[in-house]
Amino acid sequence: MPVSLENPTLIDQINALLPQTQCGQCSFQGCRPYAEAIASGAADINQCPPGGDEGIRDLADLLGVPPKPLNAKFGIHKPASVAFIIEEDCIGCTKCIAACPVDAILGASKFMHTVIVSECTGCELCVAPCPVDCIVMQPAPPSNTARSRAQKSAQAKRRYDARCLRKEMEEAEKAERAKKKKLALLKMQAAKK
């Protein structure tokens, strides 16, 4: 969905205030689905642990409602962290790369995987898929924490949107190939008869 800069919808405005970690702790499948739920009244403004109290205050200001404390049911606000790969243990399986919503892990099958610290949002989505438990969370370095929340979320959103677009195109190409294969098979079967 293209975002019009002159007239962003309420959903876009809410989404812009969310941290774009896509971590799913709010119980929705990412930041935009949560923004949609807030806009429709299906979700409250205090369900985003990474956003914390500051995020809740921003949402409250936008929507003209009083701020409230983070709902602990969805998690607690933790200090900024980034993922770190223990190189001695990495087997090059690419599972963490597939899990990262913002392309923050560089690597390929049977090559070393490495977290690009400046890109990592600390969402922890790469930790569980690792079959050898070689990903740990570490405190984010000053170079990450010095950036404003708006800067960080804008960067994460740009990477996430680019990744979604790329995955969509890959899916479309795959479907196209499957269609061609099926057509060729049908032709062959018809020729046999």
């Binding site: 770190f84 790969i85 190189e87 001695e88 243990d89 990495c90 087997i91 090059g92 690419t94 790369i97 597939a98 392309d103 892990i105 560089l106 690597g107 390929a108 099958s109 049977k110 090559f111 070393m112 490495t114 977290v115 690009i116 610290v117 400046s118 890109e119 680019a162 790329r166």
Partner: protein, 90 residues
């Protein structure tokens, strides 16, 4: 022109270089233009392994708009050998 990025990552330092390449430029040309080989001299030692967004590719592959050309490092341990060692320990 195609806008691409060239990236290289070590656990303690990572680099992403944004570049505008001529249409039809190859992965190898983008890596050379990024000057990452000068910045990280260890890359060139054993032939470059490169890829785009987590998938290894050949150096003569043309780049497309938005690609992140990645320079890969080898694994520290052979995964099969590492598994054997783990199995022996338990």
């Amino acid at each position: 022109m195609v806008n691409v990025e060239v990236a290289y990552a070590k656990s303690e330092e990572q680099a992403i270089v944004a570049l505008a390449m001529e249409d039809g430029a190859t992965v190898e040309a983008a890596i050379n233009a990024s000057r990452l080989l000068e910045r990280f001299p260890e890359i060139g030692l054993s032939g470059i392994n490169a890829g785009i967004f987590g998938v290894a590719c050949k150096l003569d592959q043309p780049v497309s708009e938005g690609d992140r050309i990645e320079i890969y490092r080898p694994l520290v341990h052979d995964p099969k050998e590492a598994r054997r060692q783990r199995a022996l320990k338990t």
